[in-house]
Structures are given as structure tokens and as C-alpha cells.
């Protein structure tokens, strides 16, 4: 791999259509003649950053600041209205609790689906499923549907699945704050191992302790714009002292 940044974002703007009507009924919208009322809103505006191999970028901001949209833009699931995003290497993302898993499937089936998405060897699914569940402490649940799992169990499984493949870029959106103390310690240990191996991490969290402990730099987003981008010691006190 070259020495170029693993993630490069230049003047990124993401917009989406916002519908004025709160109703989720076609009939009501037609009757109240509000079906045409919509406006375009910017979820992110003018974001630029570069992330190199082994760096951890903590992303902080109030709810609705654009943290998850930034993660989705890096994944490529939302397209920029202006600017651009470039990533290099295998990327896995755990955005919100669902973390891209199929709730009707068992861990074994989800490993199969994940392997198919990332073009892994499908004959290796069973061994991978055993490894993933064993790390997550879910060996007894390998053939139980995910919808029967608690949020902590789902988070453990998602983390184990996404880190098992040793990605070049790992996006963690609030996933570490879900599990118990033991899981948090274990997952932070694995995150460290990945970082030492050169994985770049985008760590989105409201937990300033985790952000401070792991981040090389912290990106503070406010209403879709960069409010600050520097070391944790500089950004976090400013963020915490800003009134909501």
C-alpha cells in the first residue's frame, strides 16, 4: 500500500431532501395539499480531512451534528453534493447498533453474508463463524437468530465480526458504549492491536473518556461543519464548555 492517506476528504458537502409534512400518510398529504413542500438541507458542509495509517480520529458533536452522516459518506453509502471522499483499503463500519447485520439470521448466517459482501472464501464460513462467536463469548448462540440477542450481545457480535477481518479502515459509531465493562476492555484491546497493525479508526462517540484515551486527533462537528480539529486536550475542553 502507498504512503497516501487511507481516508482523504476534501470540501465535502452532503445534502438531503427534507419533507415539511410530518405525516406518513399519502391520503393525508393529498388532503392537506402538503405533498409538494420540501426543502434541501445540508447534513455536512465543507468538511476536509486526511487520515493516515494507524491514526485514530475521534469524532464528537451534539446529536444531529452530522457524525453518522460523515461515517456514511466515508463508507460511500451517501454521495457528496460537492467535494469528494477517497478511501484506500478494506473498510468495515459499525454505524449505530444494527451495524449492518440481518436480525433474522443467526451469527453463522451473518458471517456467511458478511463473507459474501467482502468477497471472502465462502468455504471458510464455518471456521470464521466459530472464531467470531468464540471471541464475542457467543459460542452457545451461534445458531440462534440475532433478533433474540440483547443489545450488548449484538454489539459484541458486530464488533467481533467486523474486526476479525483486520480491516485497513474501521469506523466505530457509538458501538463501544453499548457493551459491559469486560466487553469494552476487550474491544479496546483489539482496537489497539489493529491500530498497531496500521488500521485507521474513525471513532464516533459521546464518551469523552474513550475519545481522549484513543484519539490521535479529535474532529468536532457542529451543525454539519467543522468546529475544531486538533488534539483531544485542545478540543474536548472547548466542546464541553460550549453551551448546548
Amino acid at each position: 500500500m502507498s504512503n497516501s492517506p487511507l481516508i482523504e476528504i476534501n470540501d465535502l458537502t452532503v445534502r438531503y431532501r427534507h419533507y415539511e409534512s410530518a405525516s406518513r400518510s399519502i391520503k393525508l398529504n393529498l388532503l392537506t395539499n402538503k405533498h409538494g413542500s420540501k426543502s434541501t438541507k445540508a447534513a455536512l458542509e465543507g468538511i476536509s480531512l486526511k487520515v493516515h495509517s494507524g491514526e485514530v480520529i475521534g469524532v464528537i458533536g451534539r446529536n444531529g451534528a452530522g457524525k453518522s452522516t460523515l461515517a456514511k459518506a466515508i463508507v460511500g453509502s451517501v454521495r457528496p453534493a460537492a467535494g469528494w471522499v477517497r478511501t484506500e483499503g478494506v473498510l468495515t463500519a459499525m454505524i449505530e447498533l444494527g451495524a449492518g447485520l440481518n436480525q433474522d439470521m443467526t451469527p453463522r448466517e451473518n458471517v456467511g453474508l458478511h463473507s459474501a459482501i467482502y468477497s471472502y472464501d465462502l468455504s471458510d464460513v464455518d471456521r470464521r463463524a466459530v472464531d467470531v462467536c468464540s471471541w464475542a463469548g457467543l459460542s452457545d448462540y451461534i445458531d440462534k437468530p440475532l433478533r433474540t440477542f440483547s443489545s450488548g450481545m449484538s454489539a459484541r457480535f458486530a464488533f467481533s465480526l467486523n474486526t476479525d477481518m483486520k480491516p485497513d479502515i474501521l469506523i466505530l459509531d457509538e458501538i463501544l458504549s453499548v457493551g459491559d465493562f469486560e466487553f469494552q476492555a476487550k474491544s479496546l484491546e483489539r482496537t489497539k492491536e489493529l491500530m498497531n497493525g496500521g488500521t485507521s479508526v474513525i471513532l464516533v462517540s459521546h464518551d469523552m473518556g474513550t475519545i481522549r484515551k484513543f484519539s490521535s486527533r479529535v474532529l468536532w462537528l457542529d451543525s454539519g461543519r467543522i468546529a475544531g480539529f486538533a488534539g483531544a486536550d485542545e478540543i474536548i475542553p472547548k466542546y464541553e464548555s460550549t453551551p448546548t
Binding site: 400518510s25 460511500g76 473498510l91 449492518g100 447485520l101
Partner: protein
């Protein structure tokens, strides 16, 4: 090993790009289809047998109610029972297939928005899974055709092409409708009710010959009519088809797919952010 590079400056996939993706990621498409088919039968008590039993039950009821009338319009074969089963099967495929294709994107939004997986792959896999379910149901046509003196045609070997066209049609409509289904809770209900009306304006249940000229002309313009007539022509030896019907099948399949892909390309951000 080649380094995976994502660059948003690369133009978004158009129609040809989407077809290339489906071809390049065919193993993922097939894996998702397989998982979807297995999941569908795992959730059903009767499993795969439901694919036979459901259309047979509906057709039996229709046959006992309308058989005596409509058999008279088929003097050569009196094969209304198997004829109506073919209509019921295709009606089920087309109607529920559109909802399945749209809701696949909706239910898998978490998967799509958090992984690098193109929505076209999810939508097309879901259509293929629905077509597979239909193909299993087709097997029930053979014994009924034998019992009712309907000769199956060798054209049946062209069915895979027909089913591929159905998959493109369902995918296109699914992509066109998914935004409505996501934004409005009653969209699926209104759509299903409208499609039910449209499907009754097609000869899935009755022969076209019973209709007067004016109504018949109207029904013939319904694209569902062309899908049904073409399907029956492929399956039964004594059924005929006009060039117009084949052209409608080909045209509606390709145009709908193109429209769906282009629509989704412009609206995708709105759906992910909903």
C-alpha cells in the same frame, strides 16, 4: 492483492454500470438469493410445499366457481383448471414481487448504508429469490396440464429468459417505488389495492374471448395482459401470442429497469437519510 479504492469523484453507476455490478458480483447476488429463499421457507411451517399448495388452492376455488362457464371458451382442451393456475401463479409473482423488491431495500437499509453494497444487488437478489419461489410453483402445472388435456410446449425451455425479464421488471419497479414505501406508511396498502384492480383488468382469470371488443381493446393495452399471454404461450402448446405482447414484455422490462436505476441514482441520499 489489489488495494480496494473508493473514490466518490468516479461517476455514479448508470444502467450499464449497474449491469456490470450485477455480473461482477454475481456470487454475492446468488448468495443473497440463496439466503433469502432459505429464510423464506424456514419461516413457513409448510416450507417449500407452500409454493405448490397456495396457488393450487386459489386455482381450485376459481375453477369450481368459474370452471363451467370458462371451459366452454376452450372447446379444444377444456383445460381451464391448469390455464387458470398459470394465471394465478403469474399474478402472484408480479403483484407480490413488486412489494418484495421494494421492501427488500427498506428492510436491508441498515445493511446497505453501513456496508459497501450497491442497492441494485439487494433489489435484484430479492427479485431473483421471488422468481425462484415462482419457479418451484410452476412444477405444479405439469400434472394438472396432463390431467386437463393441456399439452405443454417445448417453448417452456425459454422460460429462464422470461424469468430474467421478470426479475429486471420487478427490480426496476421496486427501485421506483421504494421511496414512496419508505416515506408513507399507507403507500404499500394503496399500491397493492391499485395493482389488484389492474391485475383484474388482465386475463389471469378469464379468457379474452369473453370480452366485448371495446373492453377487450382496453384490457389488451394493460402490460400485465402481455406478461400473462406471453407466459401462457411459453407454457402451453395451443396458446398463441402476438408480436405486440412480446414487445411489451421486452420493452416494459428494460424501460422499467432503466427508469428504476436512474431514479435511484438521483434519490439515494434522501432514502439513506430518511
Amino acid at each position: 492483492m489489489q488495494t480496494e479504492i473508493y473514490d466518490s469523484r468516479k461517476p455514479q453507476d448508470g444502467v450499464l454500470g449497474s449491469l456490470k455490478i450485477l455480473l461482477a458480483r454475481r456470487s454475492l447476488v446468488l448468495s443473497l438469493t440463496r439466503l433469502d429463499v432459505l429464510n423464506r421457507y424456514k419461516k413457513s411451517v409448510l416450507g417449500v410445499f407452500w409454493s405448490f399448495i397456495n396457488p393450487l388452492l386459489i386455482s381450485s376455488v376459481i375453477y369450481f366457481v368459474f370452471g363451467r362457464i370458462f371451459n366452454n371458451y376452450m372447446p379444444e382442451t377444456r383445460g381451464y383448471a391448469s390455464w387458470v393456475l398459470s394465471g394465478v401463479l403469474l399474478q402472484g409473482l408480479l403483484l407480490s414481487g413488486i412489494t418484495v423488491s421494494s421492501s427488500a431495500l427498506q428492510t436491508n437499509m441498515s445493511l446497505i448504508s453501513k456496508n459497501r453494497i450497491q442497492p441494485i444487488i439487494i433489489s435484484f437478489s430479492s427479485s431473483l429469490s421471488h422468481v425462484t419461489h415462482f419457479s418451484i410453483g410452476i412444477i405444479s402445472l405439469a400434472p394438472l396440464a396432463l390431467l386437463t388435456n393441456q399439452t405443454l410446449s417445448l417453448r417452456i425451455f425459454l422460460l429462464p429468459i422470461f424469468l430474467l425479464l421478470v426479475s429486471f421488471w420487478l427490480t426496476g419497479l421496486g427501485l421506483l417505488l421504494v421511496g414512496w414505501f419508505m416515506r408513507f406508511d399507507d403507500a404499500a396498502y394503496l399500491f397493492n389495492a391499485s395493482m389488484m384492480v389492474i391485475s383484474y383488468l388482465s386475463p389471469f382469470l378469464y379468457p379474452l374471448a369473453i370480452l366485448g371488443d371495446r373492453v377487450r381493446g382496453f384490457v389488451e393495452l394493460n402490460p400485465i395482459t402481455s406478461w400473462i399471454v406471453t407466459f401462457r404461450w411459453l407454457v402451453y402448446e395451443k396458446q398463441t401470442v402476438e408480436f405486440f405482447n412480446i414487445a411489451v414484455v421486452l420493452g416494459s422490462s428494460l424501460l422499467t429497469f432503466i427508469a428504476g436505476v436512474l431514479w435511484l441514482r438521483n434519490r439515494w441520499n434522501d432514502y439513506v437519510m430518511l
